[in-house]
């Protein structure tokens, strides 16, 4: 089982040497290892040109979220519990554009999207354009577990939230002062002008993937959308196969980046189709992101995990804040080819 794929190992320094040799040792014991499967949690805090002033907070945010997710596994939770815990931590963190810290739409309102998916049954829950909920990922999970449906939108999603006792919070608690000021500044622009700058905009959707000790995989993705977006605009995040997908037979993926491009190539499902055809996780992710760049000129990022514990964090944007926990080791990165690690205390 490889934590670092061969081509990524070339990009690293002394860490890669350890992993190449580790992989050789492990291959003998692979069959034994499979019975005590290694659990992994990977999270991302968005793929975009993260400015330096947000870099430190973004990295510490994803590290904390990955640890939250891993703690859920250690407490006996499954992959779905882990991705929900990780994404909740990201939603509660105002540095990311999901839940708290969300962007305002053209009407000055908050509209949130989220998805969660269980790879063992392909069950899924999603909400789009739900208003004023602090943790859309948990509402998405409630859709999955408490209704016969997969996706609820708009007022229907809010009605359901009320029916299951999920509180609506005032806009002010979800939107930062900074965001409100930015929105005020830009609301006088015509929509057409805004689109030109789309690639420079924050695409700080958050997400997580996990595989638990039983080999079950899950994914979750959550977002507040793009600042000043059209009312009712739905991006890739809550769309199954695009913002995320999870299947015990191939793996789990959560995507971030230019939403409309991710939709055009159904990025999550595309990555998994490559894995189904035998590509390692990192190569599958790279091939799919490259295709998205070539075919529709879109940039983005993806985190992916396979049922055997292979994982990758890949992006074609300038930066992506990501973190992963496996075997009490915390990995994280921001810039391309950056791959740092910390030992976690047992």
């Amino acid at each position: 089982m490889c934590q670092v794929s061969a081509d990524e190992a070339e990009n690293n320094t002394q860490i890669s040497q350890n992993h190449v040799s580790m992989a050789e040792v492990l291959s003998e014991e692979d069959r034994e290892r499979k019975s005590k499967m290694s659990a992994v949690v990977v999270v991302h805090g968005g793929a975009w040109a993260i400015p330096d002033e947000l870099a430190e907070a973004s990295v510490s945010g994803v590290k904390a979220a990955a640890c939250e997710g891993f703690s859920a596994l250690k407490r006996g939770g499954n992959a779905v519990d882990a991705v929900e815990a990780a994404v909740r931590a990201l939603e509660d963190n105002t540095v990311f554009n999901a839940g708290h810290g969300a962007a305002l739409n053209a009407n000055g309102e908050v509209e949130l999207d989220a998805i969660i998916m269980d790879g063992s049954t392909l069950a899924s829950g999603a909400v789009s354009c739900v208003k004023n909920i602090a943790n859309p990922v948990s509402l998405a999970r409630a859709v999955m577990e408490k209704t016969a449906h997969i996706m609820l939108t708009g007022r229907g999603a809010n009605m359901f939230a009320e029916s299951v006792g999920v509180a609506t919070v005032p806009t002010e608690t979800l939107v930062t002062e900074y965001e409100r000021k930015e929105w005020e500044k830009r609301k006088h622009y015509v929509a057409g002008v805004m689109e030109d700058f789309n690639s420079q905009w924050a695409h700080d959707t958050v997400g997580a993937v996990a595989v638990d000790c039983a080999g079950n995989v899950a994914c979750a993705t959550s977002t507040g959308g793009i600042r000043n977006k059209m009312v009712g605009r739905v991006g890739d995040s809550p769309i199954i196969g695009s913002g995320g997908y999870a299947d015990n037979f191939s793996g789990a993926v959560s995507c971030t980046g230019h939403g409309e491009s991710i939709l055009k190539v159904t990025l999550a499902r595309l990555i998994l189709s490559h894995i189904e055809q035998g590509k390692p996780v990192a190569e599958a992710s790279q091939a799919s992101l490259r295709y998205m760049g070539d075919r529709v000129r879109g940039a983005g990022g993806a985190i992916a995990v396979s049922p055997s514990g292979q994982w990758a964090a890949t992006f074609t944007t300038e930066r992506m804040a990501w973190a992963a926990v496996e075997d009490d080791v915390l990995w994280y990165g921001l810039d391309p080819n950056m791959r740092l690690k910390e030992q976690l205390s047992k």
Binding site: L122, C129, H149, Q277
Partner: protein, 310 residues
């Protein structure tokens, strides 16, 4: 082999008394789509025309004739996709408009977004000058009858979904080899307010790619979403399967993995097409080489000249 258009009027259990309406409806829509193609129109024009006709036909669960949500309201979903650019437009839970497929196309053509939902979709419609229609104009006696029956506490869930016509859709390849798909629906009978099914979800309700082909799906929405049925079928085609084999593989997988039934219309860049279903019936029709093909029951395949007045 080109141009070609294939349409469906929903997969499910179509009672005998509605079968003639179903067959004539899809035949009309296929004829209309074909006329567009023969006149030099694009595959996108053809699928939008075909689906608009089915939306206007009160016998189908799209536009007029849509099923009602639990509150007795009409909330509609639709998608269009352009195989050349992979551009798409979708609307979900939109209300008070006659042709959601046309609004979906406007989303694709007039915005930089791919999907608009609920009040936002309606706001966009009014901004585009799309007429607001009273909800009553979309509601049929049949829909009300089915909705009322379903509200009964002892309503049989299987019987509940029977008899309603399904989602409608179309795929086409034009003379230039451009491929498109379109799908439109009123959704699931007595669905929760705001429930969105597969139809407006790219890869679920439909997908089109000039390099692979196009699919429009119908059937149990949640099952279709779980397996991203349209995209799955195209993956099989990309790996060398024929339109029939790919469609059957996708449908069989959906049945075995998540217990869902449905149907698809599928086309490849050369113009090979298939109309396949794992449900009891699916109303479908195809037009190619001035020939009209159609069917409803498993194994049924009738052909006649396209110019034969129906």
């Amino acid at each position: 082999m080109l141009p070609v258009v294939v349409v469906h009027g929903g997969a499910g259990h179509i009672p005998k008394e509605r079968s003639e309406t179903a067959a004539s409806g899809v035949c009309s829509a296929a004829r209309a789509g074909y006329a567009v193609l023969r006149g030099g129109g694009s595959s996108m024009d053809a699928v939008v025309e075909a689906v608009s006709q089915l939306e206007n036909n009160p016998s189908f669960n799209a536009g007029c004739g849509s099923v009602l949500n639990v509150k007795g309201e009409v909330e509609m979903d639709a998608i269009v996709m352009d195989g050349k650019t992979l551009g798409s437009g979708a609307v979900s839970a939109v209300r008070n408009i006659a042709n959601p497929v046309q609004l979906a196309r406007l989303v694709m053509d007039k915005t930089s977004h791919a999907c608009l939902t609920a009040e936002g979709a309606n706001q966009f419609a009014w901004a585009m000058g799309v007429p607001k229609v009273p909800e009553e104009s979309l509601i049929t006696e049949y829909s009300v009858m089915r909705w009322t029956k379903n509200l009964a506490p002892d309503a049989n869930p299987v019987e509940c979904q029977m008899g309603k016509m399904g989602t409608v859709g179309a795929v086409a390849v034009d003379s230039e080899g451009n491929i498109a798909c379109a799908t439109s629906t009123g959704g699931l009978l007595n669905k929760m307010v705001g429930r969105v099914g597969d139809t407006p979800c790219i890869g679920g309700g439909g997908y089109a790619d000039n390099e692979a082909g196009a699919v429009s799906t119908t059937g149990h929405g949640e099952a279709i979403m779980k397996v991203t049925l349209a995209r799955l079928i195209l993956f099989h085609m990309e790996q060398g399967q024929s339109v029939e084999a790919a469609s059957d593989l996708g449908l069989a997988y959906m049945k075995s993995r998540v217990g869902g039934l449905g149907g698809v219309v599928t086309v490849d860049p050369q113009g090979h097409w298939a109309a396949r279903f794992s449900s009891l019936q699916m109303a479908w029709a195809a037009a190619q080489r001035d020939t009209l093909h159609y069917g409803l029951y498993a194994g049924e395949h009738v052909t006649q000249s396209i110019d034969n007045p129906h």
